[in-house]
Amino acid sequence: MPKSKLGTIEAIMLVLTIVVAHSVLSMPTNILSSYKSASILNVIYVSIIAIAIAYIIYRLLKNFPNMDIIDISESIGGKGFKNLVGIVFIIYFVLTASLMLRNFCESVQILYFPMTDIIFIITLIVIAVCIANRLNFSATAKTNVIILPIALIGVLFLFFTNINRFVPQRIFPILGEGVFNTFVLGLTNIASFGGIAYIYFLPPLLKDATKLKKITLISIIATSVYLIFTIATLLFIFTFFTNVSEISPLYTATRYIEFGSFFQRLESVFLLIWILVFACYLSIVLKFSIGIFQKVTGITNKKALIDVFGLLILGIALIPKNLAISQSFESKIYPYLMIAIVLFLGIGILIFANLAKKIKNQNAKNTVNNINDTIYDRKELTNE
């Protein structure tokens, strides 16, 4: 069995990393400012839909064992369609990761490196990620299994240590700005489950492909629980998180943690954990983007592509003139991009491929039946 294959826990953590990395940025602020007191209700509602979508994706992928969405695209539309789908997913992964990296580095710069140019902070992370990607992918996956539980425990810690500051009444009015806003417009919040995109590429990477159902469902349920805890912490501490602060809302929440005068300023520890989570997230994105690119182009030398993709991420991250522009991507463009590519395109391809397979099987069955009938008729004629 190849070493680069993922175990069940590693695959679950991989999907979770995407959401944890996004939640460190302005994703919770966007949820809270859009749905106000109904944020928790909206997250629960969207979680149920996300679990249903994940299950549908699993059911559709089940008919194509050890095939990812690129292979499936090739089976239905040939090489041209495969290339098109591959390029769309590469753009989605690289663009999202680059602009998220820019947002994250802007926060780090404001907090700890006010005199350092942003280019050096981004370059440092990109270099670290490129070096990590030169190793086997299992190295990233195993590092992820160590770091991500710490980040998850950190969010639970944040929830329970701030519990004395909670004002549970902030959940009211329960429907926030109305049913339409919470349940209809609120559907765009499905973009919080960015990890779904990576499920399409998991089957060929798994040690045991039969565990795909378990991996898909557990990772999405864990994501839901994580998001509920994150949003609840912020909603109960702050009066709707207004856009006054450029810093991550989770970071602001960590500043409230104090244990007397002995344990103070724990936010530094949290930031260190989040930097590691973010590096893992970028490593995963780089791995998947390079994997897709290799499938599309047929290039076998992975090491040459790592630096190219690293430079691509660096270049895109430097495009926005300021934090406001990169944040507007996260709040205004990313949700629609995710819904269009991951949900409509991805599920559309899978449905089409399943239908095509069903028709093909039906045709094959009919052909066999026809042949059998012909043989039977001939036998009868011979007997007569």
Partner: protein
Amino acid sequence: MSRWIKNLFIFVIILVFISAFSSSYSSLNIDNLTYVLAIGIDASDDNKLEVSFHFSNPIPAESSASEKATPIINTVTASSLSNAINLVNGYQGRQLNLSHCKVIIFSEEVAQNGISDEIYTLINDTQVRPSANIIVSKCNAKFYMNQIKPEIENLLSKYYENFTDSSKYVGHMPDATIGDFFNALICKTCEPYAILRWN
């Protein structure tokens, strides 16, 4: 040859990063910072703010532990709190750092005119802790700061940090932090509150 070039390249990259990050390191170095313990905001005659900064004065290592640090208060007049900080940074040898600021005192006159601009400035400053207390002083804020002479506590910073602890066992003084104040300020159904002091 290629190995030599590779090592040289790594060495150059390390040098570039050291020089890039050293500026941030030196700007946040304890030797280049001066810590503000309290900020006092008074109204000025020409519709401006009179902002007083209470600095920590480290006791020299050779002095005895019982020796008290003498307070240093600098006052500037500016149109806003951020301008006042910039003004002080302009003439003081060290950069102002608000990460140990425990108390923000507003004179009653300033408080009556509204303090939301100052609260927004402070809450957006990543150095200011949400646990810093807000005081409204019946007297002049600068006068209030000058009058603080703790008898039991040697360290002024410790006094500022602990004097609201009494809210845990008596009801005379609330624990009115800037974090709670800001939350109540932007909430439509809440009322922000601060500690009222006569001195």
